[in-house]
Amino acid sequence: MDAFTTHTGRAVPLRRSNVDTDQIIPAVWLKQVSRTGFEKGLFAAWREDPSFVLNDPAYEGASILVSGPDFGTGSSREHAVWALQQYGFRVVIASRFGDIFRNNSTKMGLLPVVLPEDVVKRLQDAAEADPKTEITVDLVERQVRSGDLVASFEIDDYTRWRLLEGLDDIGLTLRHADAIEEYENGRQPWLPTTV
């Protein structure tokens, strides 16, 4: 996983709520067995509409997506995170996220930032008024800054540490292999196996 400390970039205002992962990457794109090439499927259906915000050349190269509430609901497909990252996004800002999407993001180093709806709207307004507006997302200070706007966000210490260090969960868990083995020795004998 790529480490995340601080990122400054331009933002795309996505003024929609309930942006489910079927919209972020439609199912037809999930047939690949590799981890690459998903940027082409990002918002594939919506991008067919020339007026969709990602088709506006003013937002080319933007790396922060600022969305309406309930971003990443629905399907557990991690492909949604891969598509956003491979397209060039490092951060998604919204007032609410689907639980599984948020988990998947932090496993991959895409930072989901929860801010109150009025702050999200101010950021969207700023990005709409001037697409060159820069936003800084500072994981060290747990802050989002843009012009005179300074907003703190919450993220638990453990996830923050993992993101700052770019650590792989599996490696961390395998340090506790003894505890796993001990637990396994105490499992109830009637629990099923698939053999």
């Binding site: 929609r16 639980d99 599984i100 009637w190 099923p192």
Partner: protein, 461 residues
């Protein structure tokens, strides 16, 4: 202070707990399918890791398989299925491939084999894993990185979600199903209403549901945003499990049942959030919009966006009506559909097929109607009861097992602009095929709709 069911099951599975860290949770059963696993197996190979407990893992082919006999014609889908076969063989994982008697939708076969049991932790790279909560298990969907983590360690680091009770008071009226109940719940609490919570469904109406009905309810917990949904096990649960291939037997059965009986929320336990629903007021429920929270009683009309005070909901409703091609004020019963789909992990079990057959017996369908059993086991059971003859006589298509039209990644899809009444779980834009329009309904409403071509309750026939 007492503990809730979710807290009891969670605590039982904590391998390691440390200040300032998520719990390390043991996973009793890991379900796998072709779509969300290939990159996880690649990750294992690249890191030189192996599958820690292949015997706690089971794989099936369901999402992208065709539901008519024959090979997969789409080369990309075929590669994905072949990749799963290769991975299962390499890592020693039991797989039920297409054509196998045990093949089926991942959330149908777990309970069918008796692998899903009370008090377990169950995960799968699929958000509808919440289905298994119907047995009093903590079951939730995960992404591919977590699939890899479970394969490698049989554990997951996770913070315990908050707890939420949904108390369904009173009894469901005749003709009102588990699907109507869960659609009404989601409409009430919204698609984000359960975020960060494990929901426990409680109350008289829930207790009276069959296991199939309970699975339908728990299945759609994710559509209310919940991390998981569960129901305390009881005699209905034990009777369902007794004698299934992987259920305990002999003395183990008695010991297991004794333990399972302790899996209930203590009377003095406190939930972080409580929602009450009056079952007696419910009627057949359908969706009109593009998220599962945009639903209404079948007897009502397409709402006007102005009815929503919240500006976000209002603009979502405006957009949904445009996508769905609907006009505010149109009675829902006047909406004409092109296709009816009965199946999926929400409503692809034998009881669902019986309910649809009862309505279609001696009648004819006027729309394209797909009846897709959730597993080859369900298909066999249905055929032994002669249900397939009822469907065929009515003019419906009787298919092989798979996810089918629930999601547009196999040949069963809607064309742009086509409208369906579907027993599946998501009415998202394009979910059943690009430009397709989906109304979520119960199997009973689906069957009645197939007969009239308009959204219809069985009582209307």
């Amino acid at each position: 202070m007492g503990r809730t069911l979710a807290e009891k099951v969670w605590e039982q599975h904590v391998v390691r707990r440390a200040e300032g860290e998520p719990d390390l949770l043991y996973i009793d059963l890991h379900l796998i399918h072709e779509v969300t696993s290939p990159q996880a197996f690649d990750g294992l190979r690249m890191a030189g890791r192996t599958v820690r407990r292949p015997e706690l893992t089971i794989a099936t082919e369901d999402h992208n398989v065709p539901t008519v006999l024959g090979p997969i014609s789409d080369p990309v889908s075929r590669t994905q299925v072949e990749t799963l076969r290769k991975n299962a063989a390499e890592f020693g994982i039991r797989l039920h491939p297409m054509g196998d008697a045990g093949q089926g939708v991942v959330h149908i076969i777990g309970p069918q084999f008796g692998l899903t049991q009370p008090g377990m932790t169950i995960v799968c790279g699929d958000s509808h894993t919440s289905t298994h909560g119907a047995f009093g298990a903590i079951a939730f969907g995960i992404g591919t990185s977590e699939v890899e983590h479970v394969l490698a360690t049989q554990t997951l680091p996770a913070y315990r979600p908050k707890t939420m009770a949904i108390e369904v008071k009173g009894e469901l009226p005749v003709g009102v199903t588990a699907k109507d109940l869960i659609l009404a719940i989601i409409a009430k609490i919204g698609t984000g209403g359960g975020q960060g919570h494990i929901v426990e469904y409680r109350g008289e109406a829930v207790r009276k549901l069959s296991m199939e009905g309970r699975m339908t309810v728990c299945n759609m917990s994710i559509e209310a945003g919940a991390r998981a949904g569960l129901i305390a096990p009881d005699e209905t649960t034990f009777e369902y499990l007794r004698g299934r291939p992987h259920a305990p037997s002999g003395e183990d059965w008695d010991r297991a049942v004794d333990y399972w009986k302790t899996l209930r929320t203590d009377d003095d336990a406190v939930f972080d959030k409580v929602v009450e629903i009056d079952a007696a007021t419910l009627t057949p429920f359908v969706t009109w919009g593009t998220n599962p929270g945009q639903g209404a009683p079948l007897g009502s009309a397409v709402p006007s966006p102005e009815q929503f005070a919240d500006p976000v909901e209002r603009s979502a409703a405006e957009r949904a009506l445009e996508y769905m091609g609907l006009t505010a004020g149109t009675p829902l019963r006047d909406i004409q559909v092109d296709t009816v789909f009965v199946g999926s992990c929400t409503n692809g079990r034998i009881e669902d097929l019986r309910a649809a057959a009862e309505i279609l017996r001696g009648r004819k369908v006027v729309t394209r109607t797909l009846i897709v059993p959730g597993s080859m086991g369900v298909k066999k059971a249905a055929e032994e009861e002669g249900l397939h003859e009822v469907f065929k006589a009515a003019g419906a298509e009787w298919r092989e097992a798979g996810c089918s039209m629930c999601l547009g990644m196999n040949p069963d899809t809607l064309k742009p602009g086509e409208r369906s009444a579907s027993t599946s779980n998501r009415n998202f834009e394009g979910r059943q095929g690009k430009g397709g329009r989906t109304h979520l309904v119960s199997p009973q409403v689906a069957a009645a709709t197939a007969v009239t071509g308009r959204l219809t309750a069985p009582a209307d026939l």
